[in-house]
C-alpha cells in the first residue's frame, strides 16, 4: 500500500527513540540479539542481566497487549518447519558470532558511522537478498 512507508517511518522513529533512551539513560547499546543472547548464554550477570530481561519483557509484552486489544497483525510466516528451524538457527548463531543484528549493527552501528556496523549491514543485506533470490526464484522454496 502507498501509505506503508509513512508507518515505516513512524515505526522507525520509535525504534530509534527507544535506542536513544537506552543509550543515554542506561548507557547501553540496544541490540536485540545481544540482549537476548547475553541472557540465554549466561554471559550477562547482575543488574545488566536484570535490565536485559526487563527490556525483553517490554519488547514482547507491548505488542502482546496490542494483539489482545486490537487483534493480531499478520506475520505471513512460512509453515515449512525445516525452513523455520534452519532460519532460526542461522539467525541465532550468526548474530552471536557477528556480535549484532539489524538493531545493534544496523540502527546503532550505522548511526555512529561505525565501520563494523556498516560492513555487517552490507554483508547481511547481500546474504539476505541472495538467499531470497535463490530460495524464492531459483528453488521456489519460500
Amino acid at each position: 500500500m502507498p501509505i506503508d512507508w509513512i508507518w515505516g517511518l513512524i515505526g522507525g522513529l520509535m525504534i530509534g527513540s527507544a535506542a536513544a533512551l537506552f543509550l543515554l539513560l542506561n548507557g547501553r547499546v540496544m541490540g536485540a540479539s545481544g540482549l537476548l543472547g547475553g541472557v540465554v548464554d549466561g554471559s550477562q550477570t547482575g543488574s545488566a542481566r536484570t535490565n536485559s530481561v526487563i527490556f525483553l519483557v517490554g519488547l514482547i509484552g507491548a505488542p502482546a497487549l496490542w494483539h489482545v486489544s486490537q487483534g493480531a497483525p499478520d506475520t505471513h510466516l512460512t509453515s515449512n518447519v525445516a525452513v523455520l528451524i534452519i532460519s532460526g538457527f542461522c539467525v541465532g548463531i550468526g548474530t552471536r558470532i557477528a556480535n549484532g543484528c539489524t538493531s545493534g549493527h544496523g540502527v546503532c552501528g550505522i548511526s555512529r558511522l561505525s565501520p563494523r556496523g556498516i560492513v555487517a549491514t552490507v554483508v547481511y543485506l547481500l546474504a539476505g537478498a541472495f538467499t531470497v533470490a535463490l530460495a524464492r526464484h531459483a528453488l521456489g522454496l519460500i
Binding site: 537506552f22 543515554l24 539513560l25 542506561n26 527490556f55 517490554g58 542461522c90 548474530t95 563494523r116 547481511y124
Partner: protein, 141 residues
C-alpha cells in the same frame, strides 16, 4: 529508574517494529527480493531509526557517564574481523529464509503462531550453543 527505562525502551522498540510492518515477514522478504516485487518500506524504517540514534551518539560523545549514572557504552573496537563477516553472512541467510530477525521475532511472539515459536526456540538454542560451537571450531584449528 533503570528498570523503568529498560521496560519503556523495550515496549517502544516492540511497538515500533509492529507499527512499521517489520513483524510482517512478507514486507521484510519483499525488501530483500530485488528480483521480484520490491518493497522499499524497510529503508524508511532504518532511515527513521537512524535519525534519533545519530543525535543520541552526538550527545553521548560529549558525556562521560549515562544520565542515570554508570558507564556509557562506547564500542571502541572498529576491527573488521572474519567473525564479523562470517556471522553476518549466516545471519543474512537465516533472515532471508524466514524474513525474521531477532527483534521482530520477539515482538511478534504473541501473535506469530506456532511458526513464530518454532523459529524463536531454534534461535535461542543456537544462541545457547554458540559459545561452545565457536570454541570447538577454534580448538580444531
Amino acid at each position: 529508574m533503570r528498570a523503568i527505562v529498560s521496560l519503556t525502551a523495550g515496549a517502544l522498540f516492540g511497538m515500533g517494529l509492529l507499527i512499521s510492518g517489520m513483524t510482517d515477514t512478507r514486507k521484510v522478504q519483499g525488501w530483500l527480493d530485488i528480483l521480484g516485487h520490491w518493497d522499499p518500506t524497510l529503508a524508511f524504517v532504518l532511515g527513521g531509526a537512524i535519525v534519533p540514534m545519530a543525535l543520541a551518539w552526538r550527545i553521548a560523545g560529549k558525556r562521560r557517564h549515562a544520565i542515570l549514572g554508570g558507564p556509557l557504552s562506547d564500542p571502541a573496537t572498529s576491527k573488521i574481523t572474519p567473525k564479523l563477516a562470517i556471522g553476518s553472512a549466516l545471519f543474512g541467510v537465516g533472515w532471508g529464509l524466514s524474513g525474521l530477525c531477532p527483534g521482530p521475532a520477539m515482538a511478534s511472539l504473541s501473535y506469530g503462531g506456532w511458526q513464530g515459536l518454532v523459529f524463536f526456540v531454534a534461535m535461542m538454542a543456537a544462541m545457547m550453543a554458540q559459545p561452545r560451537v565457536t570454541a570447538a571450531i577454534a580448538g580444531a584449528r
